[in-house]
């Protein structure tokens, strides 16, 4: 099995260091803004790490075969989960800079915040923040350990066991991502609420995690790291899934918008008002086109779904779109008047790239890039992509 070049690790480390330096500088320049950026970065890393574990679970649950040769890519990315324990610590120190509801005086003067206080209070917030990570970690260990053990033992039992664990993980994933979205992002504006918000974040995360997987699969395949029998057909299935998830994101985003627009209740509309007026309006429109319209039109034709270059470009594009999405969710809470972007925001981008490259490299050096012990692999590679049927 070919190993990733050492250069890959060096670049990753450089990106990571550059990111850390920029983020640190950001904290000296403008502490509050740096914390807001940190929330974007943390949510993005959760999207990819937890989303990837979700993709792995999805494969097990649906008994999908076509994706088995690529499963390790998502597995490696989900290795980001253990590091969340560290990455979450700064948020604890930033609660007062980030969250209006964490100020005692504000809550005392505000009956609405008082009503929400049993949920939105510092102690419970921190408990939830770490409880979610522990939950993900438990399922990460359960699923990935079985998958990796199968490389040696080739036991069929491990497959069925993982299917069961994955089914258990599905509701946990949905609820935990909902809680994460509400806590970290929605409570930045504690007076506002949207019941679809968790699904919205989940849909964006699914797009991001799939994009990361698509980009890595195509790149690895092009450089000969994956089985040579893999054909355009597998990439077609993969990009169809990505395409579908992106449409799902648009569907959810629109559902949220339509209901607020139609009901026209001031306690809901003000959130959109901030994002529709002035330069934020331009960002909102850009989000619509960058996240949905353009990728939709480009990925619609069947042939485009097999074109490796388009796939790679669109995967990176959609990763950026998810970043823009989080920026659009978080930043208007800091400055309602106008949008802004400068070096302060770039640090997190570099950090994210470096972080996941290192995570990937670390796992790739120690584990097979293809789950060679998985019984589904044989059917997945090559032409034998028909469902099992027994003739009797």
């Amino acid at each position: 099995m070919k190993k990733l070049p050492g250069k890959f690790g060096t670049i990753a480390a450089l990106l990571l260091v550059a990111g850390v330096v920029l983020i640190a500088l950001g904290f000296f320049a403008d502490k509050q803004r740096a914390f807001f950026n940190y929330i974007i970065m943390y949510s993005f890393i959760v999207s990819i790490a937890v989303g990837s574990l979700g993709i792995v679970a999805l494969e097990y649950m649906t008994d999908a075969q076509w994706s088995t040769p690529f499963r390790r890519i998502s597995e490696f990315l989900s290795f980001g989960i253990p590091f969340l324990l560290l990455l979450a610590i700064p948020i604890v120190f930033g609660i007062h800079d980030l969250y209006h509801w964490s100020h005692k005086e504000a809550v005392e003067a505000d009956p609405i915040l008082q009503g929400k206080a049993p949920y939105l209070n510092e102690g419970f917030f921190i408990i939830r923040l770490f409880a979610m990570i522990v939950l993900w970690l438990i399922f990460y260990i359960l699923i990935i350990r079985n998958s990796e053990k199968q490389d040696e033992t080739k036991e069929y039992k491990l497959l069925t066991r993982n299917v069961k664990i994955s089914i258990g993980f599905a509701p946990v994933l949905m609820i935990s991502l909902t809680i994460t979205a509400i806590d970290l992002i929605m409570s930045l504006e504690p007076h506002w609420f949207s019941t679809i918000f968790g699904v919205y974040y989940f849909a964006g995360s699914a797009v991001a995690a799939l994009s990361a997987m698509v980009f890595l699969s195509v790149s690895l395949k092009e450089n000969g790291y994956l089985a040579s029998e893999l054909t355009d057909k597998q990439f077609h299935s993969m990009s169809t899934l990505l395409f579908g998830m992106n449409v799902f994101w648009a569907y959810i985003a629109f559902s949220q918008f339509l209901l607020i627009w139609y009901a026209d209740i001031p306690e809901e509309t003000f959130w959109l008002q901030h994002r529709i007026h002035g330069s934020w309006g331009v960002v909102s429109l850009a989000l619509l086109f960058i996240h949905f319209v353009i990728p939709f039109l480009i990925l619609l034709p069947g042939r485009m779904k097999e074109n490796r270059l388009t796939l790679k470009t669109m995967a990176i594009w959609l990763l950026f779109a998810h970043f823009l999405d989080l920026y659009w969710l978080v930043m208007p809470n800091l400055n309602k008047e106008s949008a802004f972007f400068s070096w302060n925001e770039i640090g997190s981008l570099l950090f994210i790239a470096g972080f996941f490259m290192l995570v990937f490299k670390f796992k790739a050096d120690r584990t097979n890039l293809t789950p060679i012990g998985d019984p589904k692999l044989e059917q997945a590679v090559g032409l034998h992509l028909h469902p099992d049927i027994s003739i009797d």
Binding site: F257, Y262, G302, H386
Partner: protein, 405 residues
């Protein structure tokens, strides 16, 4: 009954068949036992240069397109076109219906707006894309309406539509030679190779069963049954316990007692001491004409004001005073005839006097103070003035260059 049915079938090889076959060969079929075998065989057949042939399997097999050397399907373009037509016609439909044809204010929203149209546009896009792709393919590629096909009603079709995988090579193929084809398919590992013959009667001459009286009778019967059921359900069932939960729910009915509030009224009176916008108490209320405080009409002479005035006049005043104020309304004779509004009296009145009649009423004309707000009352006055002017135009109203036109 069963015996009668049996007469219609023809017995061939101890099997009951629907149609009699001729001696003319339609093609050769071969059955394979596994998907792998049929894929391998399909590759060979494609390589041998046959053109009129097909593979029949009970489920789609990945990689078959490549094995058969099929070009990428162009069906996507058809679907895309139908989808686009769906999206555009949905938008056009909603824009016409809610923006022009039947304007209705819903929740204070614009008559036509994009956000609420998107769900319908979305549905219609999917509907047309899916439905027409299927109808289109059925008609164009399956050549519907077609009543039968030589491959139907064979052992081959029976097997490949449930548990086996088959290849069919048509006799119309240029390279077709029965012995050669049979030999090749056998050498590819087929478990059973068979000749298929054409129908004895010409395919086109088979009568369409759609016009059989039995079928038409069942169709008509179904239609009548559906109609009767619908009638009964919509007119009786939904008013009968226990299906009346929609009809009898706690809600407000006009002119009916309501159980919602203790006083039995559905409508609420405004909070005491409050005044609704545009309904300030009228200072000359109940006073005789001579004591009215004369104020001038505050509304500007704009097109919008006249249009508002016309609208309100047509709604509230025209039933008695007539569309042009000539006291010739459709109620003429059923109600004490009101005086014309073109009398010298009214023409010489101040605007405030007409306003006073609207708010106050006059003798048997009731007050319209509750229905029409201040601005609308003044707009009506403007409109009445315009009506009067139209009947008593001055020379100066004629445009100077009017004759030239």
């Amino acid at each position: 009954m069963l015996k009668k049915l049996k007469e219609k079938f023809v017995e061939i090889d101890g099997d009951l068949r629907l149609e009699e076959r001729s001696n003319e060969i339609y093609g050769v079929t071969a059955v394979f036992e596994t998907p792998d075998a049929v894929i391998e065989a399909a590759k060979k057949v494609a390589d041998s240069g046959y053109e009129k042939w097909d593979v029949n399997t009970p489920f789609p097999i990945h990689g078959m397109d490549d094995a058969m050397k099929l070009k990428p399907t162009k069906l996507g373009y058809a679907t895309f076109t139908f989808g686009t037509i769906g999206a555009l016609s949905a938008l056009a439909m909603i824009a016409y219906m809610s923006g022009f044809d039947y304007k209705n204010i819903i929740g204070g929203k614009p008559f036509f707006a994009l956000p609420p149209s998107i769900p319908i546009t979305f549905e219609l896009t999917i509907l047309l894309a899916a439905l027409f792709t299927i109808i289109f393919t059925l008609v164009v590629f399956n050549k519907l309406p077609k009543m039968n096909h030589p491959l139907m009603d064979t052992d081959y079709m029976r097997r490949v539509s449930s548990e086996a995988f088959g290849i069919f090579i048509s006799a119309e193929d240029k390279k077709f030679n029965p012995d050669e084809v049979i030999g090749m398919l056998k050498s590819l590992g087929s478990s059973s190779v068979n000749l298929v013959y054409k129908f004895a009667t010409d395919e086109d001459k088979i009568k369409t069963p759609i016009f059989k009286p039995a079928f038409l009778g069942i169709l008509a019967g179904t239609a009548v049954l559906t109609a009767v059921l619908t009638y009964i359900i919509l007119n009786y069932a939904i008013y009968t316990v226990p299906f009346d939960w929609m009809t009898n729910q706690p809600k407000l009915n006009p002119q009916k007692m309501s159980t919602l509030f203790a006083d039995g009224f559905g409508m609420r009176t405004p909070v005491e001491g409050t005044v609704a916008r545009g309904f300030k108490p009228y200072e000359s209320y109940g006073k005789p004409d001579s004591l009215i405080r004369i104020i001038s009409n505050p509304m500007p002479f704009t097109k919008e004001v006249f249009e508002l005035g016309k609208k309100k006049y047509d709604t509230y005043c025209s039933p008695c005073h007539g569309n042009y104020g000539k006291a010739d309304s459709r109620l003429n004779g059923q109600f004490p005839n009101p005086p014309t509004l073109h009398s010298d009296k009214i023409r010489n009145w101040k605007d405030a006097n007409i306003y006073h009649v609207i708010v106050n009423g006059q003798n048997i004309m009731p007050s319209y103070a509750k229905q029409i707000n201040e601005n609308e009352r003044w707009a009506i006055v403007h409109y009445i003035r315009a009506l009067q002017r139209s009947q008593n135009a001055l020379d100066s109203d004629i445009p100077v260059d009017g004759n030239k036109k």
